[in-house]
Amino acid sequence: MFSGFRLLFAKEIMTLTRGKSIFGVSLGIAFVLSFAVSMPLAEVALDPTVIATLIWTILFFSTIGVHLGSFTVEENQGTYDLLKLATSPTAIFMSKVAANTILMLVIGLVCIPLMVLWLGVDVVVLPTVLLVSIIGCLCLSLSEGFIGYLLSKARVGEVAAPIILLPVVLPILVSLIIITSSVLEKGTISINLVVVIVSLSLAILVASLLFLPMLEEWL
């Protein structure tokens, strides 16, 4: 089921980091970071909820286009068919999800410490925020990936895909913002919400593993 996963993952990383989309990613990060940097300069103290929103805005919006696009582009350029002849749809799907999670985490590792330090948040909470970001990135990547896969099969354009995806991932994003703001403010994690996020991730993962081969036949 996972034959060729490592190879596909390496290919995903190469195509993600070389394509034009990486400029979009950099631009998104630069824009949000410059906003975060300008606030202390203007002597505006940001609320933890705003900081959490900024963190997840960077992580989500900087990669969404790349991640969804990778499914659509693969389908449109016909390489998905070539991959399917050599490996399983599950391996293709998981490699894309893994590559996107890594991309999100790299962005998080750069941006989160910078924002936490710059916006005057207690450094003690940094490891917890990073832990939340790992769980959140995995959950967002899985849900984006599953929807991206379905939309690419339905031949929905790259531009329309994020708009269709947004209502699906909005509850996850809101939950992640609430968890992160609670960590930033009180240093505590809302376990109930983390359980919801982890359960959702597992449900999407199991659904992907079970239904992808069936959907491949049907779509």
Binding site: L7, K11, T15, G19, Q77, G78, L82, L85, A86
Partner: protein, 175 residues
């Protein structure tokens, strides 16, 4: 085979037993769709395809004009990727005269060389069944000669679709 309410083709019955089979038809006659069905990528609306041995035991090489390889990868990277994915230990870029452009990105190649890379990818590892959809597209004389040489050297099954058959080719199926 049907897309929505449009019937692309029907009543097709054919045995591919020869080493080289040619499928011929005009634009839009369903050649690519038939090639995708033969490769197992698409299920027919009705009917059945039987492979001997079963499709799980057949390694398929496939090329079609609708396929465009990874634009930001170099020729060497693309061939390395597909050879490792198909678990092929060795390949030679010289076979398709690609060694001089191995460091060039796919997007920067001419149409003819893009077609050569696609063909080289399809021929990788001498697959049991080779499905080539309009393989001569964009090839210059040198490329066409290379293709003819490769096709004549092969001992395993080849199915080629074209809308421009040469007079000496025996057409197995006319769509």
């Amino acid at each position: 085979m049907r897309f929505d309410r449009n019937i692309v083709f029907g009543d097709v019955s054919c045995d591919f037993t020869q080493r080289l089979s040619i499928i011929c038809g005009a634009n839009g006659s369903g050649k690519t769709t038939l090639m995708k069905i033969l490769s197992g990528l698409v299920n027919p609306t009705s009917g059945k395809i039987t492979y001997t041995p079963g499709i799980a035991n057949i390694r398929i090489g496939f090329d079609s004009p609708y396929i465009h390889l990874y634009p930001d990868l170099t020729v060497r990277e693309i061939m390395d990727f597909f050879s490792r994915l198909k678990r092929i230990e060795k390949y030679d870029l010289r076979e398709w005269e690609l060694h001089k452009i191995r460091h060039k990105k796919y997007k920067n190649l001419s149409s003819g060389f893009k077609q050569r890379v696609k063909l080289a990818q399809a021929f990788l590892g001498n697959p049991d069944l080779l499905l080539l959809d309009e393989p001569e597209q964009h090839l210059d004389e040198g490329g066409k000669n290379l293709l003819k040489e490769k096709l004549s050297q092969r001992e395993k099954m080849i199915i080629v679709s074209t809308n421009n058959p040469e007079s000496e080719q025996k057409i197995v199926l006319w769509l």
